[in-house]
């Protein structure tokens, strides 16, 4: 088998894919914007095609030029990476029509999972737990009361037309319900001209836990355990670890089995992630969405399972049966990933652009750096601010944390401010060390700092 892969992405993920292609003995074609002329991934590729000016809409999202580049270089397959066109079902369809293998799931799975309401409905039908609540608009306060009694307090009442916290009420006990219901209805009417509201169980301070799945075109789906991505700032993940420090073995097994079932229900045939919110108190978990692509944080899974997800993704896309069975997948040790962003944590994580005068990556045992930059490289202001992913592996969580601290200390980046100092602070924090942190951890940590 000999073929050529066009990588429709940039930065570290483009390099990650090129590396996998080269290790499989395949050729890789890079596409780049005018702003990425000097980027490392362009040098690593066997061939490179400029596809347009710096703005995303005119280059990395301008699929017409990407398809033309694929055709003119004779590429047989396109790897979309993450972001950009990776979850665009129309793009996957276009590839299929042009006889190019799209390295990702079949378009129908992307489309189904991309529509949040439909995804929830499908998952409910497949027996995957979703956040319990009213399936549509509430008719009356009586209905709200009956439902709340059934699913248990606290509950949250939200405006159907809502957003931005308006028309939203958290109700912690029964006697507040009537007042809150009326207030939410009034507020919704005033703010959106639509008084319809719905009710859901309110999950306070959840953890964000996701299960990595991998399927092939022959109906086999396996899972590769979970990742804990609860360290988030405004829904942006900053640090991920696997396995999750709070999951016990039975919960892990149930969650993984359900994730496999969820993937099977849409005939999933590539790498994907089923995201759950996890309530630490009652160990309950609820489906939130499925990402139908490779994820930024995939290396932590690779580290604990000793697998190469991108290679598997490429091979199953060509129709090969999965070479792994569930019994062959084991996890050992603990892995942590820190996203090193060119952002200034001191001034509200403002993205930085500029030239890297120094860039020395850490090394030694158990350390992996996935990056797309080099010393002297000028970070263009048009794209994502992530410059590197620092991943470490240790025998256990304590070792991994210690190794991460050591690696962060070795990491030298000069020329722009980065999130390295922020990660160092975070790794000292008792809530992080306990493992019990939730998605509000960063907000609380930043607020506490502001109090001083």
């Amino acid at each position: 088998m000999k073929f050529k892969i066009l990588v429709a992405n940039r930065g570290e993920i483009a390099i990650r894919v090129i590396r996998a292609a080269h290790e499989l003995g395949l050729e890789a074609v890079a596409v780049y914007s005018e702003a990425d002329r000097d980027a490392l991934f362009v040098r690593y590729a066997d061939q490179a095609v400029c596809i347009g000016p710096a703005p995303l809409a005119e280059s990395y999202l301008f699929y017409q030029n990407i398809l033309a580049a694929a055709k003119s270089t004779g590429a047989d397959a396109i790897h979309p990476g993450y972001g950009f066109l990776s979850e665009n079902a129309s793009f996957a369809e276009a590839c299929r029509v042009l006889n190019i293998v799209f390295i990702g799931p079949q378009p129908m799975a992307i489309r189904k999972m991309g529509d949040k309401a439909m995804a929830k409905k499908l998952m409910r039908e497949a027996g995957v737990p979703v956040v319990p609540g009213s399936e549509g608009v509430l008719g009356s306060c009586q209905e709200a009361k009956a439902l709340a009694a059934e699913i248990g307090y606290p509950v949250i009442i939200k405006a159907s037309a809502g957003g931005g916290g308006r028309g939203m009420r958290i109700v912690s006990e029964k006697k507040e319900l009537e007042n809150s219901y009326n207030a939410a209805v009034n507020e919704a009417q005033k703010a959106f001209g639509d008084s319809s509201v719905y009710l859901e169980k309110f999950i306070q301070d959840p953890k964000h836990i996701e299960i990595q799945v991998l399927g092939d075109k022959h109906g086999r789906v396996v899972h590769l355990f979970e990742r804990d991505c609860s360290v988030q700032r405004r829904h942006q993940k900053l640090l991920e670890e696997a396995p999750s420090p709070v999951l016990d073995e039975p919960t892990r097994e149930t969650m993984s089995a359900i994730a496999v079932r969820a993937a099977q229900s849409v005939h999933y045939d590539s790498v994907g992630t089923i995201e759950f919110i996890y309530d630490i108190r009652d160990k309950a978990f609820y489906f939130i969405e499925m990402n139908t692509r490779i994820q930024v944080e995939h290396p932590v899974t690779e580290m604990i399972t000793q697998t190469d997800l991108i290679k598997h993704q490429i091979l199953v896309a060509t129709g090969e049966p999965l070479s792994l069975s569930q019994e062959q997948i084991h996890k050992t040790g603990h892995a942590i990933e820190c996203r090193i962003n060119a952002e200034d944590p001191e001034s509200n994580f403002l993205p930085q652009s500029g030239t890297l005068s120094q860039f020395i990556v850490p090394g030694g045992p158990g350390v992996r750096v996935d990056s797309g930059v080099y010393p002297g490289y000028a970070i263009p202001p048009y794209y994502d601010s992530m410059i590197a992913k620092l991943i470490v592996w240790g025998d256990n969580r304590k070792d991994a944390v210690a190794r991460m601290k050591r690696a962060l200390r070795e990491f030298v980046v000069e020329g722009v401010k980065t999130t390295i100092p922020f990660h160092q602070k975070m790794l000292q924090h008792k809530d992080f060390l306990s493992g019990n942190y939730t998605t509000s951890f960063i907000a609380k940590m930043l607020a506490a700092k502001g109090d001083h």
Binding site: Y63, S90, A94, V97, G193, S195
Partner: protein, 269 residues
């Protein structure tokens, strides 16, 4: 088959893959050009699936004046579009809100208004007045149909009179003016909406810009007769890009009827 795979923008020349284009509401992602849509596509974009029920679909134009080649032109238009006339009328639901709807078919002799178009619009509006339904019209037209002469012109007064009766029944008329809305249609029902919405960049006018320029002997201002120009000069209420159109219409329907019918109304006797 290949013709449906790729579409080229008439304005900027960008080639679009059909599936992308469809999901972008048939708007060029590069230059924002809004492509003209046929009536079935409009209904698919606006109505809840399966909710549209056509009215008077069997009405067909005759050739009352014996106008040369009119009959063959009608037959050809029917063959091309699969429609009997240049407007499709009926009742449908938009996000659960029922409305009487008229959608013009631009590929049918430029959606020109002859006796049948006038009659179908009139019947729809009267039906809506009687059954207390708001009316939504998606309009595009080259004007009155010359092959039916004075009979076409009469439709202007007829449709306007029907809309007056709709007003008396206190039901709203929402018009969506798309590219192009011109001639006798502009001079009658297209301008009688309680709320006039236009699509971005649509040409809306009575006489065309070329005719006006030649008549008055002056150069016309930039953007003359385009939706944005007309909005600025007070002829329209709002200009909406197509992707927000349904949302806008639903909001208006919501305001005029605070919540969807819990029970399906009886549309037909």
């Amino acid at each position: 088959m290949l013709a449906k795979l790729f579409v080229k923008c008439q304005q900027c020349g960008t080639t679009h893959f059909y599936s992308f284009f469809k999901h972008a509401y048939f708007v060029c992602s590069r230059c924002g050009h809004h492509f003209r849509l046929d009536a079935p596509t409009w209904l698919k974009q606006l109505c809840d699936r399966g909710s549209f029920q056509e009215l008077d679909g069997n009405l067909k134009s005759l050739d009352p004046l014996g106008f040369p080649k009119y009959e063959s032109k009608l037959a050809q238009a029917t063959q091309q579009t699969g429609a009997n006339e240049a407007v499709m009328t009926g009742v449908g639901e938009i996000d659960g809100y029922p409305a009487a709807m008229a959608v013009m078919e631009p590929n049918f002799i430029m959606a020109s208004m002859g006796s049948v178009v006038g009659e179908k619009i009139t019947r729809l509006v009267e039906y809506a007045a009687l059954n207390k339904l708001p009316v939504l019209m998606v309009i595009s037209s080259g004007g009155a149909r010359m092959q039916e002469g004075i009979l076409s012109l009469m439709q202007m007064a007829k449709t306007a009179a029907a809309i007056r009766r709709l007003h008396e029944s206190r039901m709203p008329l929402i018009t969506v003016l798309t590219d192009p809305t011109t001639g006798g249609v502009t001079a009658s029902f297209a301008m009688l909406g309680d709320i006039s919405i236009a699509e971005a960049g649509a040409l809306i006018g009575f006489a065309g810009p070329r005719v006006i320029q030649q008549t008055i002997g002056q150069k016309l201002p930039e953007g003359f007769q385009r939706a944005e120009f007309l909005l600025e000069h007070g002829m329209l209420d709002i200009v909406v890009p197509r992707k927000n159109l349904k949302k806008t219409i639903v909001t208006i329907l919501k305001i005029h009827r605070s919540r969807p019918y819990t029970r399906r109304p009886q549309y037909f006797n």
